[in-house]
Amino acid sequence: MGITRGFTGGARRGGDTRLPPGQYDTGAGWPVLSAELTPQVDLDEWTLTVDGLVDRPTTWDWRGIHALPPSSYFGDIHCVTTWSKFDTTFSGVSVDALLQVTGVRLEATHVFATSTTGYTTNLPLSDITDGKAWIVWEFDGKPLTAEHGGPVRLLVPHLYFWKSAKWVTRLELRDHDEQGFWERNGYHDRGDPWLEQRYQGDA
């Protein structure tokens, strides 16, 4: 398409090769985006369940999940509303560690994540295994705040951030794909920022 008359790029212009197409660096900021009010989740009542097509459906409480081997992610995150945030550190456990406990049945191909608010998102199993996804409760060494999904959120940093369900409470393994909240509401089923898969209909 044509050039926008008079536009040369403003303060956000980085030319950084770490930015996926159409993204800008939000710097120290971390915008909050959610479709619902922020819930207050009580740690004494918090649980995470992994079930569906697994050998041993398992529910962890706050202490139980801390007994698993810790794991951290250090790197960038990308939101579909076009901001990216560099060099974030999130700590918790790897989704692989959970699946090691539950086992994965051969038929499982997808995962459906659900939050305490009822928010849902769908992912291919291959996007949350092999060191690609975490269940996290710390950001930059501090407890994850409620507005950013605390106490515990899913983290799938190689996909747009709506896939990293805030306030996650259940991962259900399935043998088929079913759209989650934003996917039903017009956003892409996979959401790879490097392929700019923002909305339904993007390649």
Partner: protein, 246 residues
């Protein structure tokens, strides 16, 4: 799609490609804002509450894109946006300072299926500042289709001058709450400058089945709290946030 009572469904085609928007009107009469009226090629009808993405392109191919809620009624031949100019904001300051009638922008939309009102569900809409834009579309639509009995709009801003569409909102019966300016009320008394109070919201939210809240993160959590006190359950509340990052 623009008939009363139609909620969008997932089977509708979604705007999957970029198109061209020609700027037909530019209005800077609200200080700090620019109102743009666009002629969108191959336009698809929107549902009030949806937004467009605008993309700017520099001569060397660099692009910047941001989302803007639609203010216009679906029946309006043009698409209207109201953009708040942020100091050093890459896209908003360009739209505010540089754009002129006749310019072409890249646009994609309408987008979003959640923060939409189709005319049927009795709802309260609570906006902080520029968060009022999607509710202007809902109000215009409701008035045209005669469904405005089901829609209560509440708009909060620091001062009246900082509230886009203040006159239109007022004449459509919206409740305006200014936080830094006293306001004369129809009964001759005055509303003293203050944030929305729980009693104000409780009276307006009586009988609603849904609430829409749009504004900054702090505003949204404040309104969520007072809606809760007024008996509006959190699963009835739909949220759209834009504004400064914490």
């Amino acid at each position: 799609m623009s008939e009363a009572g139609t909620e969008p469904t997932r089977t509708e085609a979604i705007a999957s490609s970029w198109t061209t928007a020609i700027v037909r009107e530019v209005d800077r009469s609200t200080a700090g804002f620019v109102r743009l009226r666009l002629e969108v090629a191959d336009r698809q009808d929107h549902v009030p509450g949806q937004h467009y993405v605008l993309r700017l392109r520099a001569p060397d191919g660099y692009t910047a894109q941001r989302s803007y809620s639609i203010a216009s009624d679906p029946a309006d031949p043009l698409v209207e946006l109201m953009v708040e100019c942020l100091p050093r904001g890459e896209v908003s300051s360009f739209l505010h300072d540089v754009v002129e009638v006749g310019d072409e922008l890249e646009a994609r939309g309408p987008i979003g299926r959640w923060f939409v009102w189709g005319g049927t569900t009795p709802s309260i809409c609570v906006a902080g500042g520029s968060g009022v834009v999607p509710f202007v579309s809902m109000l215009r639509y409701a008035r045209r289709t005669g469904t405005d009995a089901g829609l209560t709009v509440v708009a909060s801003a620091q001062t009246r001058a900082r509230l886009p569409y203040a006159d239109e909102l007022e004449s459509a019966g919206a409740f305006i709450a200014l936080t830094r300016e006293n306001q004369p009320l129809p009964d001759g008394s005055e509303r003293v400058a203050a944030h929305l109070y729980p009693e104000e919201i409780a009276a307006l939210a009586d009988g609603v089945e849904r609430a829409y809240v749009c504004g900054s993160v702090g505003f949204v959590s404040f309104v969520g709290r007072i809606l809760g006190e007024a008996g509006v359950r959190s699963d009835m509340v739909r949220v759209e946030q834009f504004g400064p990052t914490s």
